[in-house]
């Protein structure tokens, strides 16, 4: 072949191969982060040890740490020198609108991944597994779901906990007298002041509430798990490029075992050792490169 032509051919080939790879159009969240030089993290104020305001007034927790790892991964992926982290404190009603209107890019809290919600948003890999359990005073005589018959039970408005316990109440005809509290602190006060006999919430949240209380010895979680609640970080829907970056970071953590350190750092505060089930879940999501 004529050397000149082959040079042209090589150049052409290079164009075909290199250009699409190098100039791959950024879209969605990654494009937004690149243009603004910042990433928005939404966090809770009251969900230790996952997502809460620490003593120094900054958001911290297990989910927040994982989101920071993802932010680091995004920074590398986009080859940015600097990536500003913008925190926004969320309440239940603001998290989805603020995610969808672009104020935040990830919801880093204790959100249960379920299929109804997947109509509206996307979830990254599962980072924790819990389920609904009954939190009660040790001397209440409540041992399991059936003992709630006719008792006064608090559950937070609009949570997956509410849906589950109310369905169970109807199914087993328990005649539970519900008090629909607004958030965890109020559910706790109601229990502490004797206004209610039990509080139904995610087991891990219940353990956090007990650990924080004035008299942790007086309270316990009892009975069987009433549901299966996988927690995930929430991202916008139809944005697989960003989701891939997030899941890659998580897969690296699961594969390298770094997740154990992060897990221990936070879960030891509520005496929650890693279960076999959690290990299995992490392993099954440690996708190879």
């Amino acid at each position: 072949m004529h050397p000149c032509l082959s040079a042209v051919g090589a150049a052409f080939l290079a164009t075909v191969i290199v250009v699409p790879a190098g100039a791959q159009e950024l879209y969605g969240t990654l494009k937004k982060i690149k243009e603004s030089g910042s990433i928005g993290i939404g966090h809770n104020s009251d969900s230790p040890p996952f997502s809460y305001i620490g003593k120094d007034g900054k958001p911290e927790g297990y989910t927040v740490d994982l989101c920071l790892k993802i932010a680091e991964g995004v920074k590398q992926e986009l080859k940015l020198d600097k990536l500003e982290i913008r925190y926004t404190q969320l309440i239940a009603t603001t998290r989805i609108p603020l995610l969808l209107n672009g104020t935040i890019d990830m919801v880093c809290g204790t959100t249960t991944n379920n299929l109804t919600r997947q109509k509206q948003v996307d979830f990254l890999s599962t980072i924790f597994i819990t389920g609904n359990r009954i939190l009660t005073r040790k001397d209440s005589g409540i041992k399991d779901l059936e003992d709630l018959q006719g008792r006064r039970v608090t559950v937070n408005q609009g949570t997956s906990n509410e849906k589950i316990i109310k369905d169970l109440d109807a199914k087993y005809n328990l005649g539970i007298r519900f008090l629909d509290t607004k958030d965890q602190p109020q559910g706790w006060i109601a229990l502490e002041t004797g206004r209610s006999d039990a509080h139904v919430t995610d087991e891990v949240v219940a353990l956090g509430l007990i650990a924080k209380s004035k008299e942790p010895d007086k309270y316990a979680t009892v009975g069987r798990l009433l549901s299966f609640d996988p927690y995930s970080i929430v991202v916008r829907r139809d944005d697989s490029a960003f989701r891939l970056v997030g899941n890659r970071v998580l897969a690296d953590l699961f594969r390298s075992g770094e997740i154990d350190t992060i897990y221990k750092k936070w879960m030891s505060t509520i005496n929650m050792p890693m279960t076999e089930q959690m290990k299995m879940v992490f392993q099954s999501q440690a996708f190879p490169e």
Partner: protein
């Protein structure tokens, strides 16, 4: 919001449509019961703020300053969480455990006592707007002070303050949303609840907004009718409107 999956149908889907209606019902109940309390207590306050007796005036002023200056949300928490702890154990326990619909009654009490101070101040302004000559004329014609209030001052004061009372009436409907903080499943809490289950927050808050706006419009219209029915010829607030 290009990623938002709109679904207006959610508003008329079972069981959500019934949740919204039940929320609306609780909103109406809390606000109306609170308003009855506010009007009754507010009338007493309005009178107490203007009577010649200084002690009564001072007590009424203290009530107004407390209830006007402490945020309503804090008041609700004080009634709900703190009051039962201050009472003797039996009474506190009854409030916490045995009183049926304790959240509802606490909400009514909080809203009513709070709105009462505003109604009271409005009525005081109404009473003070009436020239002193009317009181003097009443007393000199042999009426007692109570009769002067009952026959002369209050009937006029209520009429001239209808526009201001309308605002308070509307406010109590909107303030009733705070009842959700102690577990009354009223309109706002119901729409939040559905928004959490479905993640269709925008449709639900739009729906709540429209319902609150409609309530306000109905209240305004009803109060305008009441105003024109009760008008006294020659009073400022009683000019018949062409509208």
């Amino acid at each position: 919001m290009q990623h938002y999956a709109w679904n207006w149908g959610i508003l008329v889907t079972q069981p959500y449509v019934f949740w919204i209606l039940s929320g609306l019902l609780w909103t109406m109940l809390v606000a109306l019961a609170g308003w009855v309390l506010a009007l009754a207590l507010g009338s007493i306050l309005g009178v107490a703020r203007t009577v010649p007796n200084r002690v009564v005036r001072a007590l009424a002023a203290a009530y107004v300053e407390y209830f006007r200056n402490v945020p309503l949300l804090v008041q609700i928490f004080l009634w709900y969480f703190v009051l039962p702890e201050l009472l003797p154990e039996g009474a506190g326990r009854w409030l916490k455990r045995d009183l049926p619909n304790a959240e509802f009654w606490t909400a009514v009490l909080s809203l009513g006592t709070y709105t009462a101070c505003r109604v009271g101040e409005t009525l005081r302004a109404g009473i003070e707007s009436i020239s002193r000559g009317q009181t003097s004329a009443g007393l000199s014609s042999g009426l007692t002070m109570a009769q002067v209030y009952g026959y002369i001052l209050l009937p006029v004061a209520y009429r001239v303050t209808v526009p201001a009372l309308t605002s308070e009436f509307i406010n109590i409907f909107k303030n009733s949303a705070l009842a959700l903080t102690i577990g009354v499943l009223e309109l706002t809490s119901r729409t939040r609840q559905i928004a959490e289950f479905t993640y269709n927050a925008i449709e639900l808050f739009t729906c709540a907004t429209v319902i609150y706006a409609l309530i306000s419009l109905v209240v305004t219209y009803a109060m305008r009718i009441a105003e024109s029915r009760a008008r006294l010829p020659g009073m400022i607030a009683s000019q018949p409107t062409d509208a």
